[in-house]
């Protein structure tokens, strides 16, 4: 090192390592258990998808009935993996950006166990079906767990999230970075959305109208996606990209526009899913409009991030965090464009009830965008909190390529082809409905294939992460890079 190390830099390094050490266990717990749930969810997803074209798969054991496995697959994906990955990123990123070490990591770790326990029991209830002593799956999208689960999850959320809000309140330095806006917004939106959805649909189910409950459910899943998973993933991208490329964010104004357009547009979307149902048509078209307009915040973020990384192709190629983050940003553009296309009122008549019109879109958003960004963050955070480097470059590489191929496969077969071709057959009322079912076969097989890729990738990812938590990673001062190169500084 030619430049002199100032006392300020030393202090910063010490503070950073203190923050990392203080959060090692909660962060690793959320990532590892999240990855384990992801592996479980994907295996359930493969089963569900296989049953959608070969109903005799795994015999006719009711435990693995399509209706139950599908619910368990989505529930574990969202609350097992998605939420926990987000928690890990939120607590670490907020601590780092607020320059405050966590003093309550023991509490967070303990509450994390409750969260996992509730999810495990909830998943068991879904698979056991009606009549099980602890309740059964509800069949309501994104609210599949029996009614007693959501209050537990909400209390756990407050126990986990409150410390990040406090860290923000007592932040050092005063300057608020873009990622912090998104994290604070996500921390603020999640309880409001989660509480609204569950109170209106579950607690006061008998007081309200069933059709409106279905509408609010459609709003709920869209709001969870746009107002919780999306801001967390964007916060991570705004952190990782400048860090790895060593450049400031391209445009602060564009970041502002992206943030506020998401805040203004996001909460309106969702009810286009129940287009044609007997609820006010204003709600349906407002939902469709907002789903199309989501392209604005998505493009603002994507342009900003891509411009920040322009010209740093070698960094994108070498750094696993940046490569996953960039893939996630491409996923964001794809999600926004495909989502807008599927929600256009003219297209909605085909895509609304078509295979994959909703599922494919949600997978594209949750895996192609959110999960890829989270993987990027995990590949960045884990070596810092464990103080070890990733064990195997090969495992990271297989994780990236299998994920990418898998999600592109699903996006193509399920979202585009599945939605429009199946939907077209459904809408052509002069041909018998069975012809629509015949068309389905190719797309369902396509989705199974995609899920197999992704499931293999993530089973190994989970193992890799587990080994890292056991601190079996490489002791090295050099980051794990994806390309072979001759080191300029010989390691003694």
């Amino acid at each position: 090192m030619a430049s002199e190390i100032t006392s300020q830099q030393v202090e910063d390094n010490v503070l950073r390592s203190q923050i990392d050490r203080s959060l090692r266990h909660p962060v690793m717990f959320f990532f590892t258990s999240g990855a384990a749930w992801l592996a479980v969810s994907l295996i359930l997803g493969v089963i569900a998808s296989a049953k959608s074209h070969s109903p005799g798969f795994l015999g006719e054991c009711s435990f693995f009935n399509y209706g139950r496995v599908f619910q368990a697959h989505m529930a574990t994906f969202i609350y097992g993996w998605g939420a926990q990955a987000a928690f890990g990123v939120i607590i670490w990123l907020m601590a780092r950006l607020s320059r405050q070490e966590s003093k309550k990591s023991g509490i967070i770790l303990a509450i994390g166990h409750f969260w996992n326990f509730a999810i495990s029991l909830g998943t068991l209830c879904i698979l056991m079906g009606p009549g099980f002593i602890l309740g059964s799956g509800t069949g309501k999208a994104w609210m599949y767990f029996p009614d007693w689960v959501w209050p537990v999850l909400l209390v756990c959320y407050f126990g986990i999230g409150i410390w990040s809000v406090i860290a923000f309140r007592v932040r050092r330095g005063g300057h608020v970075y873009i990622s912090q806006w998104y994290l604070m917004a996500a921390l603020f939106w999640f309880p409001w959305v989660f509480l609204t959805g569950n109170i209106f649909i579950n607690t006061f189910a008998d007081a309200g109208n069933g059709v409106m409950a279905a509408g609010i459910n459609a709003w709920f899943r869209s709001a969870m996606l746009f107002l919780f998973f999306t801001p967390v993933a964007i916060a991570s991208a705004y952190y990782i990209t400048p860090k790895v490329t060593g450049r400031p964010v391209y445009s602060y104004k564009l970041a502002l526009l992206g943030f506020w357009s998401l805040a203004v547009i996001g909460p309106w979307a969702g009810m286009q899913k129940v287009m044609g149902a007997p609820i006010p048509s204003f709600l349906q078209f407002a939902g469709a409009g907002a789903a199309v307009l989501f392209i604005i915040p998505a493009l603002c973020v994507a342009v900003n991030i891509l411009k920040t990384a322009t010209g740093k192709t070698s960094a994108v190629a070498h750094s696993p965090s940046l490569r996953f983050t960039m893939a996630g940003i491409i996923g964001l553009i794809a999600t926004a464009v495909v989502g807008g296309l599927l929600a256009l009122p003219g297209a909605l008549r085909y895509t609304q009830f078509a295979f994959g019109g909703t599922y494919g879109y949600e997978i594209l958003a949750l895996y192609g965008f959110f999960s890829m960004s989270m993987f990027g963050a995990i590949y960045f955070i884990v070596p810092r909190v464990t103080n070890r480097e990733w064990i195997s470059v090969g495992l990271i590489r297989q994780h990236f390529w299998l994920s990418l191929y898998g999600v592109v496969f699903i996006g193509l077969f399920c979202c585009i082809l599945g939605a429009f071709m199946h939907g077209y057959a459904l809408e052509t009322f002069t041909v018998p409905a069975e012809s629509a079912q015949d068309r389905l076969y190719a797309y369902t097989v396509g989705v199974t294939t995609g899920w197999v890729f992704v499931a293999v990738a993530n089973v190994f990812f989970c193992l890799h992460l587990l080994l890292m938590w056991l601190r079996l990673g490489r002791r090295s001062s050099h980051p794990t890079l994806l390309q072979h190169h001759t080191p300029t500084i010989p390691v003694a």
Partner: protein, 252 residues
């Protein structure tokens, strides 16, 4: 941007849509005025009170828990949202010589008694909004054919010879591929019981051969679900104020 303006903006940008698309519609939809028949337009008076039959609330819960809504929708969309009124038997009975045309789009009262309307995720399976009506028509046709075979009138058909709607639905729930080999629907065998036959056996046993004198008998949950499914009859006459049909009778 200060932290204060940030939070004010955050709350304002969320609260407005929250009120507009969630809270206020929820409150107003709780108590929608029941439409009335109009003597001059409908030829009769009184409130619109569609008859609901079957175990609606409990059946609806089982329908959800088994994930039926994942593949079956229950919605006849208006023409601005889809061609459901054109699809035979989805929105009602199309041009039956005896019954006429009963097709119409779904309305709010179709879902009465259900805490959650199963609008549905996909149509990988057929729409079930008028499943009960379709089965009813199927039974009429079957009985007619059977009576013709026996050379008697339909009304004289002995009970044992009649088409049993409940057993037919139970059979589908037991194994959907019995009636339709290419069905991708799930079988719900765990909801049935296999019992040894004593005497004449159970009345509602499924008409399939089983090993060593055993019968397959639908459990309580299957009967509830079947009752719910057979109660799905969302067609027929509606007051002119909510009738959007092209063939609507104009006021005389």
């Amino acid at each position: 941007m200060t932290v204060k303006t940030f939070f004010i903006g955050l709350i304002a940008s969320f609260a407005l849509p929250w009120l507009a698309v969630v809270a206020v519609p929820y409150a107003t939809m709780r108590a929608v005025e029941i439409p009335q028949f109009d003597l001059s337009k409908d030829g009769k008076e009184g409130a619109y009170t569609p008859v609901k039959s079957g175990h609606v609330t409990f059946g609806s819960t089982i329908y959800g828990a088994e994930g039926c809504a994942q593949c079956h929708s229950q919605l006849a969309r208006p023409t601005y949202a889809g061609n459901d009124l054109g699809r035979p038997d989805l929105a009602g009975i199309a041009k039956d010589p005896d019954i006429g045309d009963t097709r119409r789009e779904s309305n709010l009262w179709d879902y009465a008694g259900e805490p959650f309307a199963w609008i549905g995720e996909t149509r990988m399976g057929p729409d079930l909004g008028n499943f009960g009506r379709r089965m009813e028509i199927l039974a009429l046709k079957e009985n007619k054919v059977r009576a013709e075979e026996l050379g008697i009138k339909v009304v004289d058909l002995p009970q044992a010879e009649k088409f049993n709607i409940v057993t037919s639905v139970n059979l589908h729930l037991y194994d959907p591929r019995i009636g339709n080999y290419s069905s991708i629907c799930q079988s719900n065998k765990s909801l049935f019981e296999t019992k040894k036959v004593y005497g004449q056996g159970a009345v509602n046993a499924l008409p399939i051969e089983s090993n060593d004198g055993q019968q397959i008998i639908p459990g309580e949950k299957v009967l509830t679900l079947t009752s719910y499914l057979l109660g799905l009859k969302r067609d027929g006459e509606v007051p002119s104020s909510i009738n959007y049909s092209r063939n609507k009778k104009s006021s005389k």
